[in-house]
Amino acid sequence: MNPYFFYAFATITVLMVVLMILQKNPITGAMCLIVSFFSLAGLYVLLEAHFIAVLQILVYAGAIMVLFIFVIMFLNLKKEDLKTGRRPFYQFAALIASGALVTFLVVQYTKIPPVSFPESVAGFGTVEAIGSLMFSKYVIAFEVIGLLLLVGIIGAVLLGKKENHD
């Protein structure tokens, strides 16, 4: 893996996410998030997980973010709605906390002992490899996700649908 590419993608990802938080306008924020998803997909490509990379784009940048934007556009926020009351104390506290966390992580980064991860075998990250793992070792997780999504869909429909008073 080329470290320069890694640093480039990582910087874009983090930068865009930070920008997303700082944006006043939700649509612009969503766009920043999309860009960060794309660079995240780039990181996956560097890790030779091409399938996951494409999934990242297809599911997050494609479907989910489009839905996000769709909802934001439906809400049709006015400029006045976007102004929130300034809370200097919370802002200050959040700044301190996140600053401390970042400093801490950066300092600790150098100290992490090398962990031996299993070498990536031939065919790593391909559809076949992921599929066979998903249906052997992690099959129970896969099934639980299936149930989770089923229940989630039913719940969303149920809570979201308008009652027809007849």
């Binding site: 306008n25 494409v54 784009i57 489009v66 556009m73 391909t126």
Partner: protein
């Protein structure tokens, strides 16, 4: 692509002096350029063809002034649009407004990267090519929604929202259908899917099983909807929304939208060809042509072979493009609720049903039965086609229409 470039390098002495990565880079860039030119030319010609077809269908002539039979009409239009003032509305979101067309164009262009025009002429034969095609499509959606929102115009916004709802919905049946084909071919690589088919119609995916035949329709309708084509062109419905999401665009930015729309037209045809009609598979045709021309050097033979395959692919996909153009001028636009009903109440269940039954079929039914079924289905297909032409002839006879076989008359 790589074997082809290798072959060129081995034939060409100048290139052997250069480092390998450099010549690869050069050739990739050249092919990208070719694709770019192809997209541009196709957009021009398709625009012209569309208007001529529309003319014929509506019993008028269509553009016939600029150049012979008006063939340069699109060029003239292009020049006109280029000369227009490039306007960005004052209250538009400037950054997003400028960014949106590029998103759309990049999304379109990235799709062409994975489209195989022949056995060797494909810029990148990805392991997960078909999946990749679905993914980059999402860039286009984002671009459309972005342009709709950034214009700060209610027509645009409505168009953008309709487009988002429509594309997100129709992606489901399209993906499910593609999954069916992937399941049948056992690969996600586009070349692999084509390779699993054959040149003869009874080897095409569409005639393999009844389910694949049925599956073609969700795919075709879904890609029409994703490409905002009639009868699903709600996002830019001229009679309701002026021009939908691109209402506020002018000048070069509008040209990009125009390009994207017509390259998408080609993608619809190409995708269906790849998945269901055997792609570039030409069977013994390349060898026959080579024999006819008496070509012996391997490089020329390879070029001819690829050219023949390219022609086959183009023929198939352009036939489909022609059908799409005809559909635009024959069918009325559907309403929004009908659009959603078609997707969620018909296409998605059909696609799901197909997927499940097809899986069972693949496990249960022995191979020789599949072969027989394929032959029968091909026969049915031919009969259907024959019946279609019979009906056309019958209509022509009864209406006593005067036939004009020259398309340009």
């Amino acid at each position: 692509m790589q074997p082809f470039i290798d072959q060129i390098i081995s034939e060409c002495e100048i290139l052997q002096g250069l480092p390998l990565w450099f010549s690869y880079l050069i050739f990739q860039l050249i092919f990208c350029g070719i694709i770019f030119v192809f997209v541009a030319v196709f957009a021009m010609l398709a625009g012209y063809a569309e208007r001529r077809v529309a003319g014929r269908i509506q019993s008028r002539i269509g553009p016939n002034r600029v150049g012979p039979q008006g063939i340069l009409q699109s060029l003239a239009d292009g020049i006109k649009v280029f000369l227009k003032e490039d306007i960005i509305p004052t209250h538009a979101d400037h950054i997003l407004f400028r960014l949106a067309p590029y998103f759309i164009f990049i999304g379109m262009f990235l799709s062409f990267v994975a489209i195989p025009f022949s056995s060797q002429w494909v810029i990148a034969d990805l392991d997960i090519g078909i999946f990749y095609l679905l993914a980059v499509e999402s860039l286009v959606v984002i671009g459309i929604v972005m342009s709709g929102w950034a214009s700060n115009n209610k027509w645009s916004l409505l168009g953008g929202m309709r487009s988002a709802a429509q594309i997100v919905s129709y992606e489901v049946p399209v993906a499910l259908t593609i999954l069916l084909v992937v399941m049948y071919s056992g690969t996600m690589s586009i070349q692999g899917i084509i390779m699993a088919q054959g040149a003869a119609p009874w080897n095409w995916n569409i005639f393999q099983t009844p389910f694949l035949f049925v599956a073609f329709f969700p795919l075709f309708m879904g890609s029409l909807a994703e490409g905002n084509r009639m009868p699903f062109d709600m996002p830019e419905a001229e009679s309701e929304l002026v021009s939908g999401y691109n209402t506020e665009y002018s000048g070069f930015r509008f040209v990009i939208f125009f390009f994207a729309e017509f390259s998408n037209l080609y993608l619809i045809g190409a995708l269906a060809t790849v998945l269901f009609f055997g792609g570039w598979q030409a069977g013994p045709l390349p060898d026959f042509v080579n024999g006819l021309l008496g070509i012996e050097t391997p490089l020329s033979a390879a070029i001819v072979k690829n050219l023949v395959e390219l022609c086959v692919f183009m023929f198939k996909s352009l036939c489909l493009v022609f059908i799409v153009i005809q559909l635009r001028w024959t069918l009325p636009r559907v309403r929004v609720d009908q659009l959603m009903n078609i997707c969620w109440k018909y296409l998605v269940p059909v696609a799901f049903f197909n997927l499940v039954v097809m899986g069972i079929w693949m496990v249960v039914v022995p191979e020789y039965v599949t072969d027989i079924v394929a032959l029968c289905m091909t026969a049915c297909g031919v009969l259907l086609l024959g019946y279609f032409f019979y009906r056309v002839a019958w209509q022509l006879k009864n209406t006593k229409a005067r036939l004009r076989f020259n398309p340009l008359s």
